[in-house]
């Protein structure tokens, strides 16, 4: 499979959802690393730079928006493709996510098939 070596960082503060995402992505043959907040997520991405980061919007310590901005400002991380996850579905939220530097946006609740399709589309951009 072409995506066997693709490394993904899952940064999601909801422990149950984090576990669910990691399991789904592992089963889809991705190499998955996870963190539970924005600060830990940034450290994780520096230690294991992923090809794609799946980042929740609302998180303690550092929001997803702030994390994405930090990633985009960091020359070593700025090339990471970012999929933002959020329960916020208003048009203004989508625009804000895009403006912050997210490459794609998935609204919770979502189907695993939608998640995998979004990741595959991002992989093709790498």
């Amino acid at each position: 499979m072409g995506n066997t070596l693709t490394r993904i960082a899952v940064i999601e503060d909801d422990a149950d959802l984090n576990r669910l995402l990691c399991r789904r992505l592992s089963r889809a043959d991705y190499e998955v690393h996870s963190a539970a907040d924005g600060v830990a997520g940034l450290a994780l991405m520096k230690e294991f730079p992923p090809a794609i980061a799946v980042i929740d919007w609302m998180m303690p310590k550092m929001s997803g928006i702030e994390l994405i901005q930090r990633v985009r400002q960091d020359p070593e991380l700025s090339g990471i493709k970012i999929l933002m996850l959020t329960a916020r579905s208003q048009e203004g939220d989508r625009i804000r996510a895009r403006n912050s530097g997210a490459d794609d946006y998935l609204v919770k609740p979502f189907a695993a098939t939608d998640l995998l399709a979004s990741l595959q589309a991002l992989e093709q951009q790498i």
């Binding site: 149950d16 695993a112 098939t113």
Partner: protein
């Protein structure tokens, strides 16, 4: 006769005095160790149940535990997962819960004296069975406990259907439900039948008229424009504001005359700058009013 040397006397005195303290310390250490072990066990169980439910959402899954406490924990985790899933995974997890008898648990919990238990039962039943669960769960919109009423309304928002709209509106009318929670539920249900909202706009309850008027705008129910227009003269300011905002959202040219009249009427001065500004915005949305015909506002927001 027993005689003690001074050093022995001091040692015995210290031991006797410190005894209760040492005992309390030991008990504290035992309690801490016990609670840590309990927390570790709870955490391990939680992970085990979570993995079981994730597997179930993938179409596999072990049998559900039989212990009542464990089933409550599984139910809570399942509710959390179901709230984050849609599509095939959602259906497979709901089917697994039904297969392992959680419908019976939920029905039993619905009749519990504990408010938390009733809410758990209602939410689980709605998430597992959707519309089929509404006859059993809609009565909980009149539950004695606000948290139960609000929780059921929230879940009806994503597991309910149009059948739930009238009961939710009724709960707002009877002041059983916060208007914001009831409105969120209605918007998520996304009803296409305007009759319940039209009825809501005729209610004696100002919060319900406001919710109904605002919902019509967000749901873009153009067929309900006329009932909304009648609310431009509502005695309640918040209802008038909702009506204006809705006409703005509907961008209804047919409402222009009414809006313009509201803008120029004598009592608009008493209505406040916010309302006037909204009327202006609504008229602009209709797209045919030149800006020079609009009222201007000074820095305080008063009409000039």
């Amino acid at each position: 006769m027993l005689t003690l040397r001074l050093s022995e006397f001091v040692l015995v005195t210290v031991l006797v005095c410190a005894g209760p303290f040492v005992l309390a310390l030991l008990l504290l250490l035992v309690a801490v160790a016990y609670s840590r072990a309990k927390a570790r066990r709870a955490s391990a169980n939680r992970e085990k149940y979570l993995d079981m439910l994730i597997l179930a959402s993938e179409g596999a899954g072990d049998p559900a535990p039989a212990r009542r406490a464990a089933r409550r924990e599984v139910a809570d985790l399942a509710v959390h997962l179901l709230s984050n899933l849609i599509g095939q995974e959602y259906r497979q997890l709901a089917d697994w819960l039904l297969r392992w008898g959680f419908e019976g648990d939920a029905q039993e919990w619905l009749g519990s004296r504990s408010a938390a238990q009733r809410l758990r039962g209602a939410v689980l039943l709605l998430l597992m069975k959707g519309e089929a669960a509404m006859p059993a769960t809609l009565p909980l919109l009149a539950d004695l406990h606000l948290r139960v009423r609000s929780g059921v309304a929230r879940v009806l928002g994503y597991a309910g259907t149009e059948v739930a709209v009238s009961p939710v509106l009724r709960a707002i009318e009877l002041d059983l439900l916060a208007p914001s929670i009831g409105m969120m539920s209605i918007l998520r249900i996304y009803p296409r039948d305007g009759a319940p909202l039209a009825g809501g706009m005729r209610s004696d309850s100002a919060p319900l008229r406001r919710v109904a008027a605002a919902s019509v705008g967000i749901l873009e129910m153009h067929s309900l424009r006329e009932p909304v227009e009648t609310l431009l003269d509502d005695p309640d300011e918040s209802v008038r504001l909702a009506a204006i905002e809705t006409l703005d959202r509907l961008a209804a040219p047919g409402s222009m005359a009414l809006l313009r009249a509201a803008l120029q009427s004598a009592d608009t001065a008493e209505r406040g700058a916010h309302e006037l500004a909204l009327i202006e915005q609504a008229l602009m949305s209709c797209g045919t009013v030149p800006s020079e015909q609009m009222l201007d506002f000074d820095e305080e927001g008063d009409a000039l």
